[in-house]
């Protein structure tokens, strides 16, 4: 598949031609953060603040939400069914008399849990595979590249649906971990490709050759020399993937293959239930969970792109040229 790798080439390139190992790199990175000016800086700040708000909602959900995520009675009497926003229920109630605001707040917790798990899983699988594949090459490399390309070419939502379907049918039932695993499968190929590509070029660098010449075993070369030089692109991909994962999670929930409603609040599931309400002109059950998804995805996208611009030396230099190259949006588009 030459077409799809071409689209993927952008993030690889954007992720940076491997800078030499340099203790001061972190320092320079912060300097870059400080030197980021104008609109990019503003967007990065806005994204960070928005993300922080969602994290706070997620962590302190039980304190912030007025009711439980599946609570439909209070003090012995049942909440009104499909009641509009009021002082008692700021965002109204659902057809099951559950408070919408509480579900939105607890939904942040679910989203955060699933996305953190999914990103951690895919980094843990994708990065080592990419390192090994890029360093050793050979048959293993060919095989892995083929499989990853196949997974990457797959319509990703469908892939997640199938995995979630199989896992929920067979193994553990639909829970946070199952859903996170289904999402993981989609993103592993991205880390694999980016890390493998940077490993391929870093492997030829003089310092790696030197290490090998001194008799360092493969394990040392990979963990001491290659690892630090290929992981710098991971945070950017991880943030952008997190944004994407929120959408995938919601899509799964919307189709009924996400978190079970008794287990936790999930925005996609709530929107599925809201289809029937929309037909009756009831807007609050759809608007608030949907807004939550959209805002969180925007927040993570802004952080990811901001980070990309700050971390990526190629982009940074191009910004200080008299003619500015807006390479940033292209990368985002190609990454999808």
């Amino acid at each position: 598949m030459s077409a799809i790798p071409a689209a993927e080439a952008a993030p690889t390139r954007g992720a940076g031609p491997n800078p030499p190992p340099d203790a001061r790199r972190t320092g320079r990175r912060f300097a870059a953060l400080r030197s980021a000016r104008g609109v990019p800086r503003a967007l990065l700040l806005v994204g960070t603040v928005m993300t922080a708000v969602f994290v706070v909602l997620a962590v302190f959900a039980p304190l912030i939400a007025p009711y439980g995520f599946d609570q439909y009675t209070d003090g012995g009497h049942r909440f009104a069914k499909l009641a509009g926003p009021s002082a008692q229920h700021l965002f109204g109630t659902t057809v099951q008399s559950v408070d919408v605001l509480s579900r939105v707040v607890f939904g942040a917790r679910t989203a955060l849990e699933v996305v953190v798990l999914a990103v951690v899983f895919s980094v843990l699988i994708g990065v080592p595979l990419g390192l090994l594949s890029g360093y050793f090459g050979g048959l293993l490399d060919r095989f892995l590249v083929l499989v990853m390309d196949a997974l990457f070419a797959f319509p990703y939502l469908l892939l997640a649906i199938v995995i979630a379907f199989l896992l929920s049918n067979v193994v553990i039932g639909g829970g946070v971990v199952t859903t996170a695993l289904a999402i993981t499968v989609i993103y592993v190929p991205q880390y694999f490709r980016v890390v493998r590509a940077s490993t391929l070029s870093a492997r030829e660098a003089t310092y790696v050759e030197a290490a090998r010449a001194m008799g360092a075993p493969a394990r040392t070369v990979i963990s001491r020399y290659l690892f630090v030089n290929v992981v710098h692109s991971v945070p950017v991909i991880a943030t952008l993937n997190a944004a994407d994962a929120i959408l995938t999670l919601a899509g799964l929930g919307f189709l009924g293959y996400g978190i079970q409603p008794t287990e936790a609040a999930e925005w996609g599931y709530d929107l599925q239930r809201a289809i029937a309400d929309a037909g009756a002109g009831i807007w609050w059950t759809a608007l608030y969970p949907g807004l939550a998804i959209t805002l969180l995805v925007i927040a993570l996208t802004l952080v990811g792109e901001g980070l990309n611009e700050v971390v990526n030396p190629a982009l940074r230099r191009s910004r200080s040229r008299p003619v500015r190259l807006p390479a940033r949006p292209e990368r985002k588009a190609a990454d999808r």
């Binding site: 649906i161 379907f165 807006p326 390479a327 949006p329």
Partner: protein
């Protein structure tokens, strides 16, 4: 000339050959995914309804009692001859599902792409012209928002606004229940059939049903298009031939449209074509939101029925569509751009 056409032929052949292992791996992944699950497809789908003896009979009939490797060979052979299997629950062939429901999905995705192009290209162009001004920022934010908002959320909002509050457009299905049976089936594409039959009131009804789903799905791709066309136009605006055109005193508007836009479009078309995976995933969600009788809708109902062979067949088709589309794009690119050769 003869030489370049020969190398083009070579490119196409090489590209086709390269696609074979890809397809093989995809099919293997699909097959393994569907079969690593313990238990067998027949009892998963029908276990609650039939006795053990009946299940056994069904299993034998569907060939699930044979060794896995034989089933795998069978599956590959079937796909090679265009046979994607039959569903367990209602014994339809996958091909029949494609004939019955493929038209709706095709209509939806093509209409969505049209919406995306009509909205995305001009907006991207405008943003490029007004680079770093306030309207550039607004358009870019619009692009981010359309990409960040889940397609079913956009769909629900459109339903609430245009279906309920304003009452302008229908929000469910492909046509009104009394209209659909009156259209004679020719192409299995309802919109086309209505046009072919000359029944313009039916056509109007079908068209109005299409608007909201197409816009919901189209907005998803619009964001991608805005970003792409903006970047590409900005890049081509810096090129020498644009400078040359300006130096010859051609008006700025003409420079942008005739010189910059044309060249900027090539990568835009490529990447738009590559959004087919995004589009197909989005189509499943859109069809669910608008009760649209497409393939995605069928897939979801067979998933709910735990019909493994139906899911396997439909997923195979979706995967093949992605491979074929990217193959076509590569070939079209090679035709357009002589630099792409082996």
């Amino acid at each position: 000339m003869a030489r370049s056409s020969r190398s083009l032929g070579l490119f196409i052949v090489a590209r086709l050959i390269l696609a074979v292992p890809m397809v093989l791996i995809l099919l293997t992944v699909v097959f393994l995914l569907m079969r690593v699950a313990p238990g067998d497809p027949v009892s998963a789908a029908l276990g609650a309804h039939l006795s053990e003896a009946q299940l056994e009979q069904r299993r034998a009939a569907a060939g699930f009692d044979r060794p896995l490797i034989v089933q795998y060979g069978d599956y590959l052979g079937g796909v090679a001859t265009g046979d994607f299997g039959r569903t367990i629950t209602d014994n339809r062939s996958i091909t029949q599902i494609l004939v019955d429901n493929g038209g709706a999905t095709l209509t939806l995705t093509v209409a969505a792409l049209l919406v995306a192009v009509i909205l995305g290209l001009p907006l991207g162009l405008w943003a490029a012209r007004r680079r770093d001004k306030w309207d550039d920022l607004v358009i870019r934010l619009f692009g981010i928002v359309t990409f960040a908002a889940p397609v079913f959320f956009v769909g629900l909002l459109l339903q609430l606004l245009f279906g309920k509050t304003l009452g302008w457009l229908p929000t469910s299905g492909q046509a009104a229940p009394i209209v659909a049976p009156t259209v004679p089936e020719k192409t299995h594409i309802l919109l086309l059939d209505a046009a072919l039959s000359g029944d313009w009131s039916a056509f109007d009804d079908v068209f109005r049903h299409l608007i909201l789903p197409a816009v919901s799905l189209g907005l998803l791709v619009t964001g991608v298009l805005i970003r792409l066309s903006r970047v590409n136009v900005i890049q081509t605006m810096r090129s020498d031939y644009v400078e040359a055109a300006r130096a010859r005193g051609i008006r700025e508007g003409a420079v942008v449209v005739r010189h910059a836009l044309r060249n900027a479009l090539v990568p835009v078309i490529t990447v738009t074509g590559l959004q087919v995976a995004l589009l197909l995933g989005g189509a499943v969600l859109t069809e669910e939101t608008f009760n649209w009788p497409g393939v995605g809708n069928q897939l979801v109902s067979y998933l709910n029925g735990r019909d493994y062979t139906a899911v396997q067949g439909l997923i195979t088709v979706f995967a093949l569509v992605v491979v074929v589309v990217s193959l076509l794009i590569d070939i079209v690119n090679a035709l357009v751009d002589p630099r792409i050769r082996y």
